[in-house]
Amino acid sequence: MRRRSRLGLAAGIALVFASARAEANPLDTFGFGSRGTAMGDAQAADASDFSANYYNPAGLVHAQRFEIAVGYFRAEHQLETNGRNNGVDPVAGLVGGLVLPGRVFGVPIAFGLGLHLPDDRLSRVRDLPQTQPRWELYDNRNQRLYLAANLAIAPWPWLEIGGGLSFMASTTGSLDITGEANLFNASQSQLRHQVDADLTAVRYPQLGARVWLGKRAALALVYRGQFALDLNLSARLYGDISHLTTAYYALKTASVDAFLPQQVVLGGSFLPIDRLKVDIDFTWVNWSAYVTPVANLDVTLAIPPPVGGWPAGISPPSVPAPAQVVPLKMSDRIVPHVGVEWLAYERGKFKGFVRAGYEYQKSPVAPQTGPTNYVDRDRHTAALGFGLRVDKPVAILSGDVRFDVHAQLSVLPDALTAKVDPADPVGDYVAGGLIWNLGATMLVGF
């Protein structure tokens, strides 16, 4: 046991303080692990398995044995404007993690790792004009890898404390193009491109505490820090234009690709009767700190006219006027979550669970009646899940094996966006839709 504790502690310290590259966080939207997702993500005072790496790191210390979990989920969007699907990409990938409990000087501690590894991409950056409609909370922000490393300790039997870091990556890059552009025959242009991009690590903290009020109730408080994924790109073009003149074009753009607001979760978990667990969370989300995801552009363009002026039919481009950024106004929200778990079946080494959950997030985005189009709608999310737990399924396994599945449906009721300006290029629209999330998780306790 002592050897395992040292191993866990060392691994935890290494992961927390090393500048490892990782990212986050689709879990706010879709949950982490099938059990938590099926229970409406009301897990702050309940999670004690690998999912505590997200819901409340303090819960890790309640694990009874080394656990490793792996699963998969896929969330399909059917988000529509004016009755047509906007094709928002699905979010899908592996979820998993581990919990390594132990003791240091007799005090229970645990180290945990949580991971969501997307199918398609580790991260995605998009920089869209502020007037272009986009599903602000679903289009780009959830397309990223999540990794969290946490430590937890139980100084007294009634108190558990945990904390750790989640990791993100911000993006910087440059594009250089030099050579000769042939205005009259583009295929004869000789251009050289050089791309240099870098992902730099960004970390944000998460802390949690859980207080046991006897064996049938617990309260929890969780804090998750905010982060902003910066996207800084520069491009430079310099070359000869058909031996007529030269051109120099330089562009620098700085924007925030994804912003996760800080959150505070107050949760409770109760056992009103032996076979029924009820979990309730309230999550305060500091959406009002949201950073407008519009690029600040710095453009330089120098194309001196050729001797004798420009040929007929050719006119030099002009520097585009910088966009006047319209701030995105968002409001803080308190998101209620509720979940229930019923021990529906128990015989020998087998236990069967039925779970259900609900959460509601009122859209934090202000009505988009002006030139911007950050589309969002209120979201009602209902979930259902089943779990099977088998204690000591085989002789060589002293722990248990758990299989959990979930189905989650989010309904975003249709609502109208009516533009004030009749000459708005987007015009009025009705937006709404559905999000389906299906998944399964298997956990093995050793």
């Binding site: 928002v88 009516a418 629209y429 093995v444």
Partner: protein, 382 residues
């Protein structure tokens, strides 16, 4: 569990993670079928999207094609569209021709459609008309096609059972020039309640008229509180100073060539959309121009202009016409790959041949991020 079993489990998981890291991402989506007012901004059609030289769809140096008007042949549920436009005939007079396309881009009688020519459907032959007819505006009225046109500063109408053979409806214009000057560029459309509405250019501004039957027209005053007949759109006042990020007006000299596009928005509001040509003060002989967008909610009143040009290529683009489509399902025919919703802008703009400049019909696409599939075959007739 013994050490070897645990190592197998953990090793398998790590291997799985590494395999997933090695996959390549697909192209990102999320911007399909976005809501739009359908009126730009437009980008020029690119090579590969048209047969011939992009962005031109109809190009004839001697014909000097200009002033297009689009008539959807299936209410925009397919890409079938007829185009009426002005061309010079062999005697040098302006006449109105018709052609047709099944993909909005490949027109019967285009330059590469050897041996075919757009059909002439209208020429000046009435007493009130001068030598030329211009400014066509085609409208499907029941089973007929009505073609409004400008001639000698007034507006006439001709009717056709097939869109090819027209009979002029009366021996007098349906809207005559008055003290405000000659009328050009009429554009006629139905309001959702079935009334006719016309916009036209007069002087340096755009005015409006209404009709119940499409033949008897009454002018509408955009601001009845003033004694004068007010236009729905006048040139933008020049701005000496601009706020940061503010786009300077492009239509300070004159506004003309309205293209009237009423619709009911998703909010159930009547929106009068208008594309128009805006001319910039400057070169008096050939002032720069661009295509603008203005609109209003409701039946009457002045138009509010959009923040900038929706199509500006620096080639004296003018006289916009619009073809909007809304396909029920992805087209799996030869035109597969067309966006479900989109619009094509047709304009007259400068084309150059061996040093001479003439007008040809070019096309632009909205949404500008969309890509059109390879063009269809030429239609068998106009």
């Amino acid at each position: 569990m013994d050490k070897s079993a645990r190592a197998i489990v953990v090793g398998s998981l790590l291997a799985g993670l590494l395999v997933r890291c090695a996959t390549l991402a697909e192209l990102a989506h999320g911007d399909e079928n976005l809501p739009t007012a359908g009126v730009g901004p437009f980008r020029k059609l690119a090579g590969g999207e048209v047969r011939g030289v992009a962005p031109y769809v109809l190009d004839d140096e001697s014909g000097d094609f200009r002033e297009p008007a689009a008539l959807p042949l299936t209410s925009g549920t397919t890409m079938d569209v007829a185009l009426y436009f002005v061309a010079k005939d062999a005697s040098g007079h302006d006449v109105i021709l018709r052609t047709r396309s099944t993909d909005g881009r490949t027109f019967y009688g285009a330059t590469q459609d050897f041996g075919h020519h757009p059909a002439q459907v209208l020429a000046a032959d009435q007493g009130w008309e001068g030598a030329d007819v211009a400014g066509p505006s085609a409208l499907a009225v029941g089973s007929e096609v009505w073609l409004y046109y400008a001639s000698n500063g007034s507006v006439g109408v001709a009717k056709s059972p097939d869109g090819l053979t027209f009979t002029k409806a009366s021996a007098v214009p349906v809207l005559a020039a008055d003290a405000l000057g000659p009328i050009t560029g009429p554009s006629v459309a139905f309001l959702p309640d079935g009334r006719f509405r016309m916009l036209f250019a007069q002087g340096d501004s755009i005015y409006e008229a209404a009709s119940a039957d499409g033949v008897s027209w009454q002018r509408l005053d955009a601001d009845p509180t003033t004694p004068a007949m007010d236009p729905v759109l006048a040139p933008a006042p020049p701005q000496a100073t601009l706020a940061p990020g503010e786009i300077p007006p492009f239509d300070t000299l004159r506004v003309a060539d309205p293209c009237l596009l009423p619709r009911v928005t998703a909010a159930g509001r009547l929106q009068i959309r208008v594309l128009y040509t805006g001319f910039t003060a400057g070169d008096a002989a050939a002032p720069a121009s661009a295509i603008g967008f203005a609109a209003r909610y409701g039946d009457t009143g002045p138009l509010v202009r959009g923040p900038g040009a929706v199509y500006a290529v620096g080639k004296h683009e003018n006289a916009p016409a619009l073809f909007e489509w809304s396909l029920a399902a992805p087209d799996t025919s030869s035109d597969g790959g067309t966006p479900l919703v989109g619009s094509l802008l047709y304009v007259g703009q400068d084309q150059t041949s061996q040093g001479s400049i003439y007008s040809a019909l070019a096309a632009g696409l909205a949404p500008p991020t969309a890509t059109l599939p390879l063009p269809a075959a030429y239609p068998s007739g106009p």
